[in-house]
Symmetry: none
Subunit: 209 residues, 4 copies
Amino acid sequence: MNRHSYFHIFLGGDELVKKDKPKYKQIVDAAVIVIAENGYHQAQVSKIAKQAGVADGTIYLYFKNKEDILISVFQEKMGMFVEKLEHILTKEVSASEKLRLMIESHFGLLSGDLHLAIVTQLELRQSNHEIRMKINGVLREYLLQMDKILVKGMEDGEFDKDMDIRLARQMVFGTMDETITTWVMNDHKYDLVDLAPKVHRLLMKGMRA
Amino acid sequence: MNRHSYFHIFLGGDELVKKDKPKYKQIVDAAVIVIAENGYHQAQVSKIAKQAGVADGTIYLYFKNKEDILISVFQEKMGMFVEKLEHILTKEVSASEKLRLMIESHFGLLSGDLHLAIVTQLELRQSNHEIRMKINGVLREYLLQMDKILVKGMEDGEFDKDMDIRLARQMVFGTMDETITTWVMNDHKYDLVDLAPKVHRLLMKGMRA
Amino acid sequence: MNRHSYFHIFLGGDELVKKDKPKYKQIVDAAVIVIAENGYHQAQVSKIAKQAGVADGTIYLYFKNKEDILISVFQEKMGMFVEKLEHILTKEVSASEKLRLMIESHFGLLSGDLHLAIVTQLELRQSNHEIRMKINGVLREYLLQMDKILVKGMEDGEFDKDMDIRLARQMVFGTMDETITTWVMNDHKYDLVDLAPKVHRLLMKGMRA
Amino acid sequence: MNRHSYFHIFLGGDELVKKDKPKYKQIVDAAVIVIAENGYHQAQVSKIAKQAGVADGTIYLYFKNKEDILISVFQEKMGMFVEKLEHILTKEVSASEKLRLMIESHFGLLSGDLHLAIVTQLELRQSNHEIRMKINGVLREYLLQMDKILVKGMEDGEFDKDMDIRLARQMVFGTMDETITTWVMNDHKYDLVDLAPKVHRLLMKGMRA
DNA sequence: TATGAATGAGGCTTCATTCAT
DNA sequence: TATGAATGAAGCCTCATTCAT
């Protein structure tokens, strides 16, 4: 069971066909680069088209409008995170170890794609209310998976049984998010993945039984 | 020592004169209301002028441009937080207690001004790269004060001496920020200040010696 | 003598061959339906192609461009009117009776094809100058036949000998056109053919000797 | 009682103020010229602005959007016709004479403004459904006045008492319209006003008792 | 013949800023 | 100081047409 099976429920066949065509990915990848290099508000459709090596009009064969491109960027890329997380969840290890793997994996993915890191941590947050709400919908999926780790940890007695799970989630996500954003804003001067064990230790200390 | 002394370093006498005139505050307050009620991208200068009860052109007698209004909003309002924090720092209490007071005070200020909460947590984050960088400059002042609490706590043996102070700060700020944002996005359905002790306990657990 | 002989003068053999192929008529008929149902400005080539059951590109095997489709619609359909009129002209009846038959036949054809009525009375008039000029060229053929009735009526002493023939033609055509357009704009609420005798009587009164 | 009093009923003071400013008329007049000289579909807002001697954005201080310009053109100009007609209606003359005056006046106004004639007879008819419906609303006012002449003529025994008033109106308007359009399409080669008596005679013959 | 994916030119509208009064 | 009418740059999207298959 991976995210593809998840999305099968919601998307018609049509969309899936389009998403599987090479130009769809080409355009999504181009959007990430253009947004990262020019900033959200300077990421014109024409720039994305040029970066993708297609005509402006071609964009609209694959996306309903500009907003649709941006949401798709988040969906496609966030999908990677969810997939990783789902994979981690299947492993036969402790909740603490899962948490560590999640942080490491999350940091690792963004370390490996600096453009993507800029886009998700800084640029996409400049989008308007409507787009952000749709992005939040995608994010929720990730947070739901994250909750599973926390619940398991509490059930197994690794984490504090009286912990408010929403608060804990906010601490975990907020700390990770803040850590990554600080790293991005400092121009990736230091190694983000190196911070993972420390972040893990700090968070575990806050949550352990 | 108050925040005015801090800004004396950066601002020329001209601005100070302007900032003391009633219309300056009128416009800043109008901006908060307009942004909160219309969203960042629908907060046109003309709307702010109308809300402030002045002509469009008058805005430009007090602010260099629109960007200047937005940064001033953050500066003026963030100033309140820094002042509170400076006040807390002078108290003769433990670092843990200072942390508790900071969280409570921070949550309290935003609970008391829902418009401001919307603006700082959601809307102002939609601003472009340049504005956000300037906002971060203002924010840094707050984080520097926050660091003093952490350092004191480590020196006094209340907090873990081997803690990475930057990481700890990211955890504290990230958790608070995520908690507030979640509260705002849930339409202030529950009482934010009530969460302060829990957040404090969680963070303390993560940081204590 | 039928309209084909008329068009022989203007059209090369190529077009004739194409016009006899089933897809040519398929596309023209599809255009009428699409224009009537979507309006002139929403009648994209792709919609016409879909309605006709052919690929977009196939359209261009039968028509030079979109303009050519629209003119062909008018040509093909207006041809029906000219044919009917030519048939009426051969009858051995008075000019007044011919006029009556013409009105009745004209009203009858449009009553029987509401799509066509919408297209000729409302939608095709939204076309640009150039197309309308070409449409007028086709219309002229109809008006020339109409003139024959008027001339005959004047020669036979049925119509006023001193009548300005151009004015009379404008009255006849203008009245018919206005009557049909009003009927179309009133959503065919009443029976158009029922109005034919009244229109005939009114026009005859204006023209008789 | 003139049309201003009529519109007072429908328009708020705001609109009236705008309509009285010189730039409003400047833009409406520019629109007539640009549409007449370039055709409806080539009448870009930027062209109208340039012709009016204002910036593109200025247009939008006086008009909601492009559609609003076009409807205003018709409203403002058609207003002249309605005013003339209302004036004619107050005269103490026979219905036949009123009809003559109406035709002469209508032809005269368009003869005196060739641009306007092109716009109303040819170009504005290319507008889309929605705009045409709004234009028809304005036109209705004119036709209502015209009906008054017909009713009076029937009451006074000048016109056929059994005449279908709607058909009669369609004949009168259709004939006038067709006559003017033919004149415009023939590049005003002949004098339109000279045709008025003939048109009047023809229509009277069709309608008289 | 037939297809349909790809092309790319073109225009309405918004809104931050200016400047004459 | 204060006004607010005027400015004009800038970008998303549509759709007729082409052309490789």
